[in-house]
Amino acid sequence: MEPILKGTGLVKRYGRVTALDHCDFDLYPGEILAVIGDNGAGKSTLIKAISGAVTPDEGEILLEGKPIRFANPIEARQAGIETVYQTLAMSPALSIADNLFMGRELRKPGIMGSVFRQLDRPAMEKFAREKLNELGLMTIQNINQAVETLSGGQRQGVAVARAAAFGSKVVIMDEPTAALGVKESRRVLELIQDVKKRGLPIILISHNMPHVFEVADRIHVHRLGKRLCVIDPKKHTMSDAVAYMTGAKVPDEVMA
């Protein structure tokens, strides 16, 4: 099978730090690929390079076999790649609904929408409420609340809801459950599996080994700015994975 998304020899330097050091990367259709690694290993940089948030200094990215080069995250989104960033990327003063639909607002039907370009707030709010309910973010009282008034976990939930609702080719999530409670994390995992059922491949960065092993089809182990190996969660133990990513053990095979 051809990878839907493929990176080869990606390099990204920040001043003197080489955050990505000739890193390779593959994502196959319909799979959940987990990316694990130490803090500062370069995982976020990798997915930023894929989603257009940073431009790699070297290397090539192929989407469905065609080379792509995103100048900004909007182009990546238009190509169907939807991302939850570690920093969440939300406008604090705007409402939850506004944030969910940022960049793809719904307009009123008829002349109000086409000529006067009026937003269809009721429709947007209804949709937003549904999506948040799916995630079990029940402590949010008001969909028109400004995002800055949400707790850390609630914000995370909104960001995940946004990516899951709109991704069409690839969904990328950078530590989506980091700030979430037990209940909310479980919902996100269910959501990830839902998304997979819709046929979309997912890249999941997470430090939570049990979750990773529970949902991932393959695990990309990132170390010192590059891919160390790819392992199969059914054939390796969590303990192995931890040992590889921290440098305690060196993997003998290279690909899963």
Binding site: P73, I74, A93, L94, D98, G103, P233, H236
Partner: protein
């Protein structure tokens, strides 16, 4: 292995039967709380209150203040600042600032005038050219800010000087007289026409005159209030000002939005330039709007409760802010305050109005 993972999360069994209800907190619904909440939700409410207070005070202190004529004069005196304020508002909502608004306005008015009188282009075409050039000046600001990533304060500080100098050089400091304009290019003076209300046919010069310029200002504020609140583009403006990185990652084309905002601001300034011709009758390159238009419009914006850090506030607030300044200036003039004292008191007003705003928000918070 996956089975091992299942075991590690077995405690999640406790989730079965977890509550699905929205948390219901105790809500304080006293009238006071409701008022506070409303004030909090309505950023233009505070300037409105200050405005009403100022009207009442001057109505008591200054005779001749509460006359329809006086009030209509106040409106026409703030027409230009109000239109420049529309430009400044959208720029400040993106966390920018535009020091060049006044220079664009004056230069555009000079361009419209010179097109007509120096090159003999028909007035309506000159106006169109002037509006286009004003928009272009704004777009250059926007391009430097969005593409070159230069700070708005610097860019517009530079273009302010550049445009003002160009204005003087190009016009050779020549004022085009009102009588010439009246004769051969009345279109330039369009916004100086007026509608008279309550006129007594028998008495000459009776009734209340409202300039077209005043209506234009109100219409522009209304349109922009709609655009900012109810269209996607308006949301982008707020998002860009709020947290540009987040907005960019969330899919807002912040670069494009910034260029559009500054270009639109340029258009508003050019409109203000056109209005200036109508209001003053003549085209004068030395109009003080070129030097002071930026500070005046920023003052209106901030008294109107719009945050200089971007992303918060409403254009209707700016309108009230401009009115507050207009009422103050007129009121103080009628009371007979010395110009330096007026200057002093407007300074105090700026601080006071913003302090009241902060205070109400804090109490309401």
């Amino acid at each position: 292995m996956a089975s091992e993972a299942k075991a590690a999360t077995s405690y999640e069994d406790g989730l079965k039967g977890a509550s699905d209800k929205v948390a219901e907190f105790h809500e304080d619904t006293s009238a006071l709380k409701k008022l506070q909440h409303w004030l909090h939700k309505t950023p233009s409410a505070v300037p409105l209150i200050v405005l009403v207070a100022a009207l009442i005070i001057f109505g008591v202190v200054a005779e001749n203040f509460f006359k329809a004529g006086t009030l209509s004069v106040i409106l026409q005196q703030i027409a230009i600042v109000g239109i420049l304020g529309c430009a400044q508002t959208i720029v400040i909502l993106t966390a920018g600032i535009d020091l060049s608004v006044g220079a664009i306005a004056v230069f555009s008015s000079v361009l419209m005038g010179q097109m007509t009188f120096r090159y003999g282009i028909p007035a309506p075409a000159s106006i169109a050219i002037g509006l286009a050039l004003g928009t272009a000046m704004g777009a250059v600001n926007g391009w430097l800010i969005a593409k070159m990533k230069l700070p708005p304060f610097i860019v517009t500080l530079g273009t302010w000087q550049i445009l003002l100098a160009s204005n003087f050089i190009y016009s050779a400091n020549e004022t085009i007289r009102s009588s010439d304009i009246e004769k051969s290019a009345p279109a330039l003076r369009f916004w100086g026409n007026d509608v008279v209300f309550f006129a007594d046919e028998a008495v000459k010069n009776s009734g209340v005159k409202i300039l077209y310029a005043v209506f234009l200002m109100i219409v522009l504020v209304a349109i922009m209030a709609y655009v900012l609140r109810s269209t996607a583009w308006g949301r982008y403006v707020y998002a860009t000002g709020d947290d540009p990185q987040a907005a960019e990652l969330a899919g807002v084309p912040t670069g494009k939005v910034l260029i559009q905002v500054y270009a639109l601001a340029g258009l508003f300034c050019a409109i203000a330039g056109w209005v200036m011709i109508g209001r003053f009758g003549s085209v004068s390159p030395t109009a003080s709007t070129g030097q002071l238009g930026n500070i005046q419009s920023i003052t209106a914006v901030v008294i109107g409760g719009i945050s200089l850090f971007g992303g918060r506030g409403s254009i209707v607030g700016m309108f009230f802010g401009a009115l507050i300044v207009g009422v103050f200036e007129m009121g103080l003039r009628l009371v007979g305050t010395d110009p330096q004292w007026t200057f002093f008191l407007i300074g105090a007003l700026i601080i006071f109005a913003v302090a009241v705003d902060q205070w109400i928000r804090k109490v309401a918070g």
